[in-house]
C-alpha cells in the first residue's frame, strides 16, 4: 500500500516536472522569437557554437536552437533557392544585390529559430527557412 503511494507520488512529481519544463521551453521559445524579431541576443540559452563561415553563431535553448547568421558569400548565385528566399526578406532588391556582389563580399545576416537540435544540417542548408526572421544582406567586416 505504502509502495503504491510512493510510486504514485513519484509519477505525479515526474509529470509536474515535465509539464513545467514544457512550459519553460515554450515560454522561452516565444520570448526568444520576440528577442530576435527585435534583433536582440537570445535569452535562456545554455550552449553557443561559432562557425568558421564568417561568424555564424548557434545557440541552444531547451528543445530548440537559434541561429544568428553571419556568413559571407563571394559569388552570389541569384538562382540559388536559399538566396532567393533570403532576398524576399532583404533590404536590397535583386538588381542591387547583383550589382554589389560584383565588387564586394556579401554578408548574410539574420536569425533562424527552430525546434530540435539538428543545427549542422540547418546551417548546411543555409539561411531562409520558414522560421527565419530579420534576414538581410550587408557589407561589413568579418566577425
Amino acid at each position: 500500500m505504502k509502495i503504491k503511494k510512493t510510486i504514485k507520488t513519484l509519477l505525479i512529481v515526474c509529470v509536474v516536472v515535465i509539464v513545467l519544463l514544457g512550459f519553460f521551453s515554450i515560454g522561452t521559445y516565444n520570448i526568444n522569437v520576440a528577442q530576435i524579431n527585435n534583433g536582440k541576443a537570445p535569452l535562456f540559452i545554455f550552449s553557443t557554437n561559432v562557425v568558421n563561415d564568417g561568424g555564424t553563431r548557434i545557440y541552444k535553448g531547451l528543445g530548440y536552437h537559434i541561429i544568428e547568421w553571419s556568413s559571407y558569400i563571394e559569388n552570389v548565385d541569384l538562382k540559388d533557392e536559399h538566396i532567393k528566399k533570403a532576398l524576399e526578406n532583404s533590404n536590397l532588391s535583386r538588381l542591387e544585390l547583383e550589382e554589389l556582389s560584383k565588387t564586394n563580399i556579401v554578408y548574410v545576416r539574420g536569425w533562424d529559430i527552430a525546434w530540435g537540435y539538428d543545427d549542422m544540417s540547418t546551417i548546411k542548408n543555409g539561411p531562409g527557412s520558414e522560421h527565419t526572421v530579420n534576414l538581410h544582406f550587408e557589407f561589413d567586416k568579418l566577425n
Binding site: N49, V51, N52, L142, N143
Partner: protein, 219 residues
C-alpha cells in the same frame, strides 16, 4: 714566398665575396630554411582561433627539430599578401584556423587568399611545402574532384594538403588542430593524426564533431 702570401690573400678575398653574395640572396636562402607557420586569426568579436597554437609549444619544437626546419612562427594577425608570401617562400608546414570557403581563406583586415591566387602560382610553386592545413569552412567543398582550395594547393606541389568539406565550428577546430599536431609530433602518420584529432574533437564536445569529421586529405 710572396706568391704564397698573394694566394692566401686571394683565397681570403674570394671567400669574403662568396659569403657576401650568399647573404644578399635571401629568396634563395628562404627555400632552404623553411619554418612551421601557424595562424589563428583574431577577428573583431574576440572568438579564439588561437588556442590550439597557444598549447602546442613543445610539440611544434619537436616537429621543427624532426623536419630540420629553421624556426617556427605563430601569428594572430597577418594580411593575406604576407600569408601567401610565407606559404610560397618560407613555409614547411602552413596551418591556418580562420573563416573560409571553397574559394578563399580570410586573413586580417578583411583580406583573403583566393583560389585564383593559388591557381595563378607557377607549376610546383609550393613543392617546398610539406603540409598545408586549411582549418576553415568548406576548403575541401565537393571533395577530391571539385574546384576548391585543397585541390588547387595540392596541384601546385604541396606534399600534403588538408581541408574540410563542410562548415566547421571554432571550438572543435581548435581541438582537432591541437590533437592533430600532438599526434603528428610523436611521429604518427598524417591520416592517423587526423583521426586522433577527430576523436578528441568529438570527445570534448559530447560526440559533436563540428564538421571535423568531413576531412579531405590529399597526399
Amino acid at each position: 714566398m710572396k706568391k704564397a702570401i698573394f694566394n692566401r690573400i686571394g683565397i681570403a678575398l674570394l671567400s669574403a665575396v662568396i659569403i657576401c653574395l650568399s647573404c644578399s640572396l635571401p629568396s634563395y636562402a628562404a627555400t632552404n630554411n623553411r619554418i612551421f607557420f601557424g595562424v589563428g586569426i583574431d577577428f573583431y568579436n574576440g572568438i579564439d582561433r588561437w588556442q590550439w597554437l597557444y598549447e602546442l609549444d613543445t610539440e611544434i619544437s619537436n616537429i621543427v627539430k624532426d623536419k630540420g626546419y629553421s624556426d617556427s612562427q605563430k601569428v594572430r594577425k597577418i594580411n593575406a599578401d604576407d600569408a601567401l608570401r610565407v606559404l610560397r617562400d618560407e613555409a614547411g608546414i602552413f596551418a591556418v584556423h580562420s573563416h573560409g570557403s571553397a574559394t578563399s581563406v580570410c586573413f586580417s583586415n578583411n583580406t583573403e587568399i583566393t583560389i585564383s591566387q593559388i591557381n595563378a602560382l607557377g607549376a610546383n610553386a609550393l613543392s617546398n611545402v610539406d603540409m598545408v592545413i586549411y582549418g576553415t569552412c568548406r576548403a575541401a567543398n565537393g571533395g577530391i574532384s571539385a574546384s576548391n582550395m585543397v585541390n588547387s594547393t595540392f596541384k601546385k606541389g604541396a606534399k600534403v594538403v588538408i581541408g574540410f568539406e563542410e562548415l566547421t565550428y571554432v571550438d572543435q577546430m581548435n581541438q582537432w588542430l591541437l590533437d592533430f599536431f600532438k599526434s603528428y609530433s610523436k611521429g604518427k602518420s598524417v591520416t592517423k593524426s587526423a583521426s586522433d584529432g577527430l576523436y578528441w574533437a568529438k570527445f570534448w564536445h559530447f560526440g559533436n564533431a563540428g564538421g571535423t569529421d568531413k576531412v579531405l586529405i590529399r597526399q
